[in-house]
């Protein structure tokens, strides 16, 4: 549904987005994760045809963003970081106006309007002026406008920023409910949202994709082992790093070692055997499960 290839956006000398490539299949919910200023919004603006890329290409629902821009825009529902609302309109008038702009035929407008009000749980606020709505309701109107034309692809830029915990849970619930019919690209830096809603995560940092995988795989890759030895020899680090499945070994004070794993096979058995054979005096061997937050920090901290 979304295919992105080598997308770059250059502002003068700085790269906002550099060679970004990824894909999202039909009905998939993909999380777009990265610190502020990583290039998430720029990428989303390019995909929604608000901006043109400096180089690279992208296809949405089979249409090229540069060659078939109007078709692409018909196929996506986009919620920018700040919901694009007209304060002087009522919720109903606003959604009706957006339906017209997005090309919903007149015969279907009433049905789509009800569906959008329903999705945003806005029925009882339909005739309220947008100016008078709270932040949470404004965000719901933003979500309702994104789906008013029943698009196959939804692009949501930080849909739950500034919401309280209950509203965030509702937003998560909404996003999850979109899964079978729509492909969702969701940018956020609220990690529990990603963990709960997304099947796959793309991590972007300083304009580049640094990782993309299923949430559990990412966590597994960043997990490792903690090892404490009573009598480690000076060459213990080197020997441990040669064990299959171990990618890095860090020696810490008091005989402690921290091992990173490649994630392919469980190295624990082999390490235990080596400790006994070398007579290092194995005191502790435990698994360290990384959570998404650690993965995120690890991937997006450059040192």
């Amino acid at each position: 549904m979304i295919e992105v290839e080598g997308l770059s956006k250059i502002y003068g000398a700085s790269h906002a987005v550099e060679e970004v490539s990824f894909a999202a299949g039909e009905g998939e919910i993909v999380g777009f994760l990265g610190p502020n200023g990583a290039g998430k919004t720029t990428t989303m603006r390019i995909l929604s045809c608000f901006m043109a890329p400096s180089s690279g290409s992208a296809r949405i629902a089979g249409f090229d963003i540069l060659e078939n821009s109007l078709e692409v825009r018909r196929s996506i529902g986009y919620l920018p970081e700040n919901a694009p609302l007209y304060d002087e309109m009522s919720v109903r008038d606003y959604l009706n106006y957006v339906a017209v702009l997005r090309g919903v035929p007149k015969s279907q407008r009433a049905i789509r309007l009800e569906a959008a009000l329903d999705a945003g749980q806005l029925e009882h606020r339909a005739d309220t002026l947008i100016r008078k709505l709270s932040k949470g309701y404004r965000q719901r109107v933003g979500i309702a406008q994104a789906i008013i034309h029943d698009p196959p692809v939804l692009i949501l830029d930080e849909p739950s920023s500034g919401l309280d915990p209950r509203q965030r849970a509702e937003t998560r619930h909404f996003i999850k409910s979109q899964a079978p019919q729509r492909t969702v690209l969701l940018s956020t830096h609220i990690l529990p949202d990603v963990q709960e809603t997304c099947s796959r995560v793309i991590v972007i940092n300083a304009g580049r994709v640094v990782a993309q995988d299923a949430v559990e795989n990412l966590a597994a890759k960043a997990s490792g082992l903690n090892l404490v030895l009573a009598r480690p020899t000076p060459d213990a680090s080197e020997k441990l790093s040669r064990v299959a499945g171990v990618s890095a070994v860090r020696r810490e004070p008091n005989g402690a070692f921290s091992l990173d794993l490649t994630g392919e096979n469980d190295a624990r058995e082999e390490i235990a055997r080596m400790c006994v054979a070398e007579n290092w005096g194995l005191l502790e061997l435990s698994r360290r499960r990384a959570n998404l937050e650690e993965v995120f920090l690890k991937l997006t901290t450059s040192d």
Partner: protein
Amino acid sequence: MFIPFHIAWKEIRGYFSSWIAYVLCAGWLLLSGLTFVSLLGAAAQGAPFSLVPLYQNLIIVFLFLTPLLTMRLLAEERATGTLELLFTSPLTPWQVTMGKWLGALAFCAVLLLLTLHFPFFVFQYGTLDAGPVWGSTIALICLAAAFCAFGVFCSSLCDSQIVAGFLTFGGLLLSWMLAWPAATAPDNRLAAVAAQFSVFAHFARMLGGAIDTQDLIFFASLSFFFLFATTRVLESRQWK
């Protein structure tokens, strides 16, 4: 319905859902009414009566009113981020520009409708020379079309409504002043060329009721030029 009409209708509703429409209508009625009364006063003193000076005064009102009408059209969308809604919808820059322009122009048409009772009074209680009334109405519509196109263009350039308003006002004022050198130095060629570019020189010719295609084409091309420039500005956003 044609998409620009929907955008225009939204703009008109926007004017009337804020104070601006009512304040402008009130100011417009007050100023045109005062002018009409003073014309009647002059006629009572024995001067020949004509409605042309009324329309001549209205152009000055337009000069102040157009920036107020057009300054928010695109600048506000840019400032509040709703431009992102417009350009992630399947719309072309022409549709958006035309919609905005038609909205402002329709409001000007409403204002012109509000002055129809003046010729009606004259018709009812005296003799009406219809030629200048028609000529002036067409001239005012042409003028409003060109002014609004320029206003929409200025509004597309920045995200500050105030700056857009001042740009529009400054540009329109300059266009008025272009006719001045020709009035003081009739032999100067440069002054004559400058006067050709003055909206007001063309407007003054039409007021008398003589509609020349030259003047119509001038206003049409001026409007088209600024609308086209607006679409270019909107398109260039993509590449920034």
